[in-house]
Amino acid sequence: MKDLANNTLLNIEGLTLDFLTNRGRVKALRDIAFPVRKGRILGIVGESGSGKSTVLWSILGLLAGNAQVTAGRVDYGDKNLLTLNAEGLRALRGEEISVVFQDPMTSQIPVLPYAQQMSDILYRRSMSEADKRKAAVDMLRRVGIPDPESRVDAYPHEFSGGMRQRAGIAMSMLTGPNLLLADEPTTALDVTMEAQMIDLMRGLRDDFETTIVVVSHNLGLIAEMCDDVVVMYAGEVVETGEVHDIFHNARHPYTRALLECDPARITDVSRKLPVIPGDIPDLTASLSGCIFASRCQKALPACSTTAPPLVERGTGIARCHLLEGPLADPSWPPPAEVSTVMRDTGKTLEASVKDAKPLLEVRDLNVQFRTMGAMKSRLRGVERPFVDAVLDVSLDIRPSETLALVGESGSGKTTLGRTILNLQDAAGGSVRFEGNDIRNMSERRFKPLRRDLAMMFQDPVGSLSPRKSVRALITEPLLIHGAEGRNLDFEAERLADMVRLPRGFLSRYPHELSGGQARRVGVARALALNPRLIVADEPTAGLDVSVQGEILNLMADLQEEHGLSYLIITHNLPVVRHIADRIAIMYLGRIVEEGPAAEVFARPAHPYTRALVEGVPQPDPDRRRQNTGTIKGEVPSLLRRPKGCDFATRCPLARDACREAKPEHRQIAPDHRHACLFPLRYADQQIT
């Protein structure tokens, strides 16, 4: 480590920072120290509340007004960035240190074309406008924007999400910075785009010798992209090291637990996912000992009182009593196969009722959104003044079965879920629940069915009415559907117990809950009326890796107890693998493949399915995605639905026939359908 000192571009030493809030002084960062080596990509990984973004912003002096740095230094060359005056910082920002933001939609100026925004970035350079424009075009070409000469005059809203992030990277690279800071650069993007971004940023690092610091909660991204890793927990650095050491030889129990919780790493198809029980400690309280002690499976009594030693090793450090000193445990860390986190021995439950009558049958369902008013479309002679958000979808869900609906953003999966629950009108087709057609039923007639069909929404906190207590929220379904003769206090406690929410939380309000707790309230509300089917929209969205296991395990337990059926809507393929019996893959409003989960993962028939399965970032630096080139571009807009197969524009195997006609759905096994003219595994055998 020491001999690399002259290779260090940025060195953070003892950085300690508080936020002054009306809850008191939040000790957000405590004694952060790590070097950033020249020409490397360093990843800071941690869960929400770990302070990883705060570290990033303190480098550039872009902290919130209530932040107070109490100690430490951030050395860049011979300057300490923490004490540098505003003018000095401004000279560095943009020129030597630049930033890629999480959400390009809000970090780019909506009213200026890229040409203008990018030549503004070069305002310090004495270049002619024509040269600046040329530099902008060259950089856009380098980041993979097609036809940059004309696209440079586009506005941000004219670009798709992936292109916008590419343009964001181009803007940050335009000045040729020494250091690039990236804050969750792919979180707003789909998996297929994420792989392309990682590829792009690694390529830029090689071409321009830029050092990159990337902050993410996504272990797959860190493993694929970074050379060095810093693991943070609750405002402290718990472990640092080179990427192979972190992922293959993690020494801190937190790093180890975090890795074991990533569903992409778990290959057995047990329905239980591992969890790190507990919550991040309250950082306004006085802290002593090891910060992770309260959630650590290996914690000893001394851990919560004595600060852990800082143990150096070849490529980094770790802070843990198990590694050095009187409490050292030579058997730690155990070999990779040994599990160190809590995991119920899941009953590998096979769907018991394979051939039962379907609970829900969806046939040829179509949902359309109007793109212009009736009058306007008639005047302009537009025949179809709407787009097809859901196109000829057919699905079955049997009792006690979990069907996962997987697709990228814009695939129409959420619309489909809402249409099934009669929250959105359909244009055609049928939705049958227990044999009765319920599509477009009037709310008055549908109301009794709402007892049987419940929904969990995407945003755990945002889907709870903000001014209602948890008690009011979870008993509300009972009130709506008549709670005569029920003791609501008793019911509230029963439901809280059912979703393992401590009863004390009943008097809290949504904004006082963490994501995982709010999600439990959502589950309790969905369960209050003993439904038969729950439509869960992204049940793990907004949850940390260590918490999402708890929620999915809870959902699995409840399914077993109450014989529930689930329709799980998600873009997160690794999670689905553990909970779904069957998977349906959706693309541009159409189901392109449907089959048993294991089957779809092992032998995908549709090239899109394969791209999704292979596109899952692996939390293993040795298994970086090799074939990032196989699927290009992004989901096309619904307004420009391709004439033939919807996927033909991105499919690496597309032939002429694919661009002519929409492929029909074909049955390839009793339970396995797809919509591809040239399926991957049955290409040479004709199935009728």
Partner: protein
């Protein structure tokens, strides 16, 4: 749990502290309390019967016996001002709460209901807003004759649109949020969604608006009474005191001055209070909802 309740309490104390250290807020609060107290306790505070004539003492200037002087009939101006405050409070309390309630409901319906209903209500709001309150009152009085009820009705009608528009905008923003969709998915009726889930989230700005509307309402009442189409003589109102004083402004200026001062103080008080409340509860200033 207890520490959480403690933090909520701390937040409340923090807000109170910010409120109490703001001189505008404190001044506003003092004036508003004074307004309420003087109006409610007028019969006990007032030294004289507001309508008792004392002809020998007519047109008396401010003295120790009549601290704000007397009018041309010898009635004590100070007592009449205190009793006039009762009229102002009556109109303000009933007028503001009625138009708040009606505006809130109409605004929520406009924001949540179908598009055509929204357009219809917006048109109605704009139509009402385009009518000046005083002209409308003059026209109505021409048909019905002057009375306090007409004043009240005019005040309510003309202030509904401001509440309605604020409520509509706030409801529109909530309409497509996930928690409203979640309520729909549970089968909640529209009225339940509006009154249980939308109302608590839109009422805050309306209450602040109401505090700022009080002086508007009070001055409409005073203005109409000044013009002789509000309260009927001999009943005291700040408007009638001003009117009577205006006739004798050269000989007895204290009547106009004494009638104007409470109007000014009330306006200042509610405006200061409303602004202070807005500063403290504005979500952009605080920590989210």
């Amino acid at each position: 749990m207890p520490e959480d309740r403690e933090s909520a309490g701390r937040e409340r104390r923090e807000k109170l502290k910010r409120f109490l250290t703001d001189w505008q807020a404190v001044t506003g609060l003092v004036l508003v309390v004074l307004f309420f107290a003087s109006a409610i306790f007028a019969p006990w505070i007032a030294p004289y019967d507001p309508n008792a004539m004392d002809i020998p003492a007519r047109m008396s200037g401010p003295t120790w016996v009549h601290i704000a002087g007397t009018d041309q009939l010898g009635r004590d101006t100070f007592s009449r001002i205190l009793h006039g405050g009762r009229v102002a409070l009556y109109i303000a309390a009933i007028g503001v709460s009625a138009s708040l309630a009606i505006g809130l409901v109409l605004g929520m319906i406009a924001g949540y209901g179908p598009r055509w209903l929204d357009n219809l209500l917006l048109l109605a709001f704009d139509a009402v807003r385009s009518l000046p309150a005083v002209i409308l009152a003059l026209a109505t009085v021409a048909l019905t004759g002057p009375s306090l009820t007409v004043v009240l009705a005019i005040v309510i009608l003309t202030t509904i649109p401001s509440y309605g528009r604020v409520a509509r905008t706030a409801t529109l923003a909530l309409r497509h949020t996930e928690f409203i969709l979640a309520e729909r998915s549970l089968g909640a009726s529209t009225s339940r969604i509006l009154f249980q889930h939308v109302m608590p989230n839109v009422i805050g700005p309306l209450l602040i608006l109401a505090a700022m509307e009080v002086p508007v309402v009070v001055s409409i009442e005073a203005g109409l009474s000044f013009l002789g189409i509000g309260v009927l003589p001999p009943q005291a109102s700040w408007g009638t005191i001003l009117n009577e004083g205006y006739l004798v402004i050269r000989d007895a200026p204290w009547m106009v001055i004494a009638g104007g001062i409470p109007l000014i103080l009330t306006t200042l008080g509610f405006t200061f209070l409303g602004e202070a409340l807005r500063d403290i509860f504005d979500p952009r200033m605080g920590r989210g909802r």
